[in-house]
């Protein structure tokens, strides 16, 4: 029998790509708007703030769903320690992006520090995303393995 696509462990990968895209673009737009503030389009900074805001919200939701998936995949994958490291770096990224987002809105003069926090968080996000990919592509986390004869698909 082919398992459902609405399994508990599949909500996390369904959502996880949104914060990756939103926070990466939001950070680049924000830095671009600050570095090239005289020549960049006027909508760049508000766009960056919107992307970062939605990205931060989706990141925390993704972390919550990841914790739900963890207890399912850790029972079957060969190296469950990777999920813990993946989780830790996601938290670091979440805290960093949240701090940068709040700083940008409330302490506007700390632009350089905000830029450095965004870049560091981007590094944490990249590493966490890499670990997430390794969980799927090296360990088959949350992946259904069809039978050799594929009879369940007939």
């Amino acid at each position: 029998m082919i398992p459902s696509m609405w399994r508990r462990e599949l909500w996390h990968p369904l959502l996880a790509h949104f914060p990756i895209a939103l926070l990466t673009l939001g950070s680049l737009f924000w830095i671009g708007a600050r570095v090239f503030r005289r020549t960049c389009p006027s909508y760049l900074l508000p766009s960056a703030r919107l992307l970062l805001g939605v990205g931060v919200a989706s990141a925390w939701l993704s972390i919550f769903l990841g914790e739900q998936a963890e207890s399912v995949v850790n029972r079957v994958i060969c190296d469950p320690t990777v999920t813990q490291v993946h989780h830790d770096w996601a938290w670091r990224a979440g805290i960093g992006f949240s701090a940068a987002f709040v700083m940008d809105l409330m302490i506007a003069r700390l632009k350089l520090l905000t830029a450095l926090i965004l870049l560091s968080s981007l590094g944490a996000l990249t590493y966490s995303a890499h670990l997430g990919a390794s969980l799927v592509y090296q360990q088959g986390a949350a992946v259904y393995h069809p039978t050799p004869e594929c009879t369940e698909f007939e």
Binding site: V35, S71, N74, R75, K111, A115, G123, H130, Q138
Partner: protein, 113 residues
Amino acid sequence: MIHRLLATATFAAVGVLTATGLTAITTGSQAHASISTFTVQGKVDKVVPAEKEIYVISDADGKKYEYYFTKNTQLIQAGRAVTFDLLTKGIKVKVVAQRKGKRLDPMHVEILD
């Protein structure tokens, strides 16, 4: 001037992050297939009843080990089978687990208290 400094700092930070990320990504380890038993004696640090999961801190090395009970896991106390709800934080246990890669599937969990 400030723009140049900010741009230089940005490029330097991106360079460092990229190098760090690439180093982390390229240092993957080779898997070695092995199935063996692994015994840990220590104190229960955390119990997650909904997941039938326990964390045990080993007396021997002080490390924290995570165990998800399987349908084959036997939980015993004084030679008798007992239920999962007897496991609480702080009690002493001895866990014999089957090691599959770096995953530990508990086979026998003995409550020592």
